[in-house]
Symmetry: C4
Subunit: 190 residues, 4 copies
């Protein structure tokens, strides 16, 4: 079964998710510079989410480059990932418009965490399909980065009940560690 349409469909959904998030930057009525001030937190959460979608797109791109085939389970695992990613615009807007209060920050973390789990499930489905001795299985293992970001999400969600800035700090931290694409993969597909 061909992986091209899975890539094309995922690209389409991710492209729309990114552009839907920007719609939350509602055009202000005034024309002064001050009219933009209330948009600053919305803009900041847009930037954060844009980077996260970028990370998912980059890693999805890398992973699918090494995938040789897909099956029905992979298609659904991919749709499952897209489902959680499709909630990013909602979670981003709720957080941005409420100036980073507790529940929106917690919700944002939950959606991010579920997307991370969904990505992990997709990777596992591809690994199982390619077999334990495949190049795919050898390239993608659980890394320290996976474990650290998983822990960071837990800290973010729990810590946000003390102050939401714990959550925000964790999300920025996770974005930074994932910003760099997988070197081991880049070498393989150079």
């Amino acid at each position: 079964m061909n992986k091209n349409r899975l890539e094309a469909f995922s690209d389409g959904v991710l492209a729309i998710i990114i552009t839907i998030m920007v719609l939350e930057l509602k055009v202000p009525h005034g024309s002064s510079l001050q009219a933009l001030t209330p948009l600053i937190p919305v803009f900041m959460s847009y930037v954060l989410s844009f980077i996260f979608v970028g990370i998912y797109w980059n890693n999805h791109h890398h992973m699918m480059q090494l995938a040789k085939k897909v099956n029905g389970k992979v298609l659904w695992a991919n749709l499952h990932l897209l489902f959680w990613l499709s909630l990013f615009p909602f979670a981003t807007a709720w957080m941005g418009e409420n100036h980073y209060e507790t529940w929106p920050v917690v919700m944002y973390g939950c959606v991010m965490f579920m997307a991370a789990m969904a990505y992990f499930i997709l990777e596992s489905a591809l690994k199982k399909l390619h077999g334990p001795d495949s190049e795919f299985a050898n390239t993608f293992g659980t890394t320290i980065k996976d474990t650290v970001s998983c822990l960071a999400y837990v800290v973010a969600i729990g810590g946000s009940f003390i102050t939401p800035w714990v959550g925000i700090a964790c999300y920025v931290f996770i974005a930074i560690i994932w910003f760099i694409p997988e070197r081991r993969v880049e070498k393989k597909i150079a």
Copy 2:
């Protein structure tokens, strides 16, 4: 005639349909967890429709993998399918925002039923084009699943006038039986 653009265009429309549906999850004004409560029925109908769009995308993907060619009739049969699918966001939102009352649930069933008919017409157009002895015609026949879901739609639409929960139960039932992709197809294109 080339099938690639038909696939690409359908992927585009389906990707946008999925993401438009999520726009109905309007960002609440409050930041408490209770502010999300009124969104629960909207969210549930989003999940249901997401799964249906996923089923259509998966089956469309499978069907087009075995199609060797397309013609003018197939292009229009495909556009006809996309037309009914494009009404999913409307039907989903109307049902979700009215807490599953009779008419919205009936309307949802009608749109789903028309999409199922359109899919059947597309399959027939492809079968006719490939000829009765083609691999395509041998792989895709009317199955018991087709008949059962057709009946389930009729029960859903009729039963919703007694209580809309009959309709909802039928839609969930149809989603479950279609969740599993066509094994006979997967074998062929393995």
Copy 3:
């Protein structure tokens, strides 16, 4: 220069145009069947415009199948076509929400006419690029259908000042004559 990205980009824009038009079907507040009544004219104009976008997509698909190459002029001629098509959702919504009054019907005709002109310019640019003896130039000439629809647009725009139903009738007529894809092209690319 490669035609694939031109096709992909056009597919993307057309897919979004179709789905944006459906957004004008605003979800009604009530849950009775009567709540849908005010949507009927909006729905009818959506159906009409969906068919027009479908016609453009089909013909664009056919034309690009026979195109062997593109150049800078073709890229801009294509963007020019997409510009007028991008105004379809606006023209469709204005017409549907105003129950087919004079100016909205005239405006709809003007946008359609400009799109038709833009399509003609794109065809000419491709013809010039491929040369007068190419298969492309031999396949696509000005047909009686082109002349008739051009006249029909003029009648539609002028006649709408008597009664908008002249315009509507002309649009339906044009949709019908273009519904059938170009047989001469289908034969060539069979």
Copy 4:
């Protein structure tokens, strides 16, 4: 690493950006010709931004045609470009709805300038990847057009504080000089 998905994803984002901009043309309530009058400045800024997105798409298309490969840095440089382009709908709408007042015109210029810088960074990343002796590096150098438009942005942003029409004039001027695709590139990929 394959450049196809980078192209497909960029096409998707650009297609959506164009179509989101048209959503700012909000359907007026009246049906007279006068009801369209307040839309004229919004429409004019839509036309301007459509041309700019068209220019970016065309040049991106040309540049990627000559690119033989991409790497992680190129993926992020491309996402960075898409980020600034994704702010076009906001900047366009703010400018159009405020009838070209100072701050919106300045903001529009800033977003355009950042997009131009991002494009330059993407070009540099591709140049570095292909090496100084590659066909890519030989084709794309800093041209007089780059320098002139950079200066024009500075004049536009500064001059808008005297009168916003300086800004508008500069944007129109930049659009005109970039309208013509790169002849040196077209020759190479003829």
